[in-house]
């Protein structure tokens, strides 16, 4: 597999660095509009990715990494929201030790995500690559892998008879 060369910080414009950094700050979207729903951050990341993905590979990489890394945090926090709502409306505020365990897990996960997100935003602002576990590889593959040109398929569908 071939990949496009990675740009060095001095080759990346200020604007690209800012746009790449902005991708990670979408984790504050829910706070910005005052709707404390975990899905807002994910929606904001998706919108940001689709607006910016064609600007440059560097921006594409960071915004995709930010988007992908939002998914587990969103799922974990949504589960907490649903569990909390169930407790409030069905179980008469009965907070079980299991619930507390999960709430702490969700809190720590979100905190870790925020810390790594801020580090990534800082690195992106400096024009540097920063790879998250697993998501970094996927984002790099998607953004930097050289794909065949349009109409030039690696496995042609139409073949000669001999």
């Amino acid at each position: 597999m071939e990949y496009y060369p990675l740009p060095q910080p001095e080759e990346i414009s200020e604007r690209e660095k800012e746009d790449a950094m902005g991708a990670y700050l979408m984790m504050f979207a829910a706070v910005a509009i005052g709707l404390p729903l975990p899905i807002i951050n994910l929606i904001a990341s998706i919108i940001y990715y689709y607006i910016n993905r064609k600007k440059s590979r560097f921006i594409n990489f960071h915004s995709l990494q930010s988007l992908l890394s939002q998914i587990p945090t969103t799922i974990i926090n949504w589960a907490l929201v649903i569990w909390s709502v169930t407790i409030i409306f069905k179980d008469d505020w009965k907070l079980t030790p299991e619930f507390w365990g999960y709430a702490i897990f969700a809190g720590v996960s979100t905190l870790l995500y925020f810390i790594f997100g801020l580090i990534a935003a800082y690195k992106a602002r400096q024009g540097k690559m920063y790879y998250f576990l697993f998501f970094g590889k996927v984002a790099y593959e998607t953004s930097y892998k050289i794909k065949p040109e349009n109409g030039e398929s690696q496995n042609p569908v139409n073949k000669p008879p001999f």
Partner: protein, 193 residues
């Protein structure tokens, strides 16, 4: 900053009546619906920009251009709502319009001190004094709109003085919004010009 709405020599009475009775349906509803979501996105970018300015002293250029596009869109819409221009306002943050001209220069550097000053004391030195004047100006605009509506209906023209007053009020509120939105460090003047 440039904020202009061209004075129309002639305004259509048919469009005036159409806007008055059905404007909410064919202009307000589609534009309002889209602007609600685009405005939300603007709020998200504005909030994030605050933190970026705090740490870097710069408003991200892409975010800034988005906010400018949003302001231009709102101005195109306002020009029709306030009967300052005919025609249907174009959708989108990158659309253009012959009747309106809004240019907001990009500030290469923004003061972090001013940013914090606005955050903690903006309501004292910006919102209260400007809000006080803008409240009375908006009453004046409503009166001017009412008078202007009848003048357009009978003559097909909006007097330049009424036009300038409404545009000046819009310009004033836009300048306050830009200052409080951290898009400029220049304190908004108490002026319609």
């Amino acid at each position: 900053m440039t904020f202009e709405i061209k004075h129309a020599e002639q305004l259509s009475r048919g469009e005036l009546l159409l806007r008055t009775f059905f404007g909410w349906l064919y202009i307000g509803l589609p534009h309002g619906f889209l602007l609600l979501f685009v405005g939300m996105w603007g709020a998200i970018l504005g909030f994030i920009s605050f933190w970026i300015i705090l740490f870097t002293g710069r408003y991200p250029q892409s975010f800034f251009e988005f906010q400018v596009g949003l302001t231009q869109w709102q101005t195109r819409l306002n020009a029709r709502i306030y009967n300052l221009a005919d025609g249907y306002p174009a959708f989108g943050i990158s659309a253009t319009d012959d009747s309106t001209n809004v240019v907001i220069p990009y500030p290469e550097k923004l003061s972090r001190g001013t940013l914090l000053l606005k955050l903690f004391f903006g309501w004292i030195y910006v919102l209260i004094p400007h809000g006080f004047v803008l409240f009375f100006l908006s009453l004046g605009v409503m009166f001017a709109l009412f008078i202007g509506w009848w003048i357009i209906l009978f003559t097909g023209q909006l007097p330049v003085s009424i036009h300038n007053f409404i545009v000046g009020s819009l310009r004033w509120s836009t300048r306050v919004r830009l200052y409080m939105g951290n898009m400029t460090d220049t304190y908004p003047p108490f002026s319609l010009d």
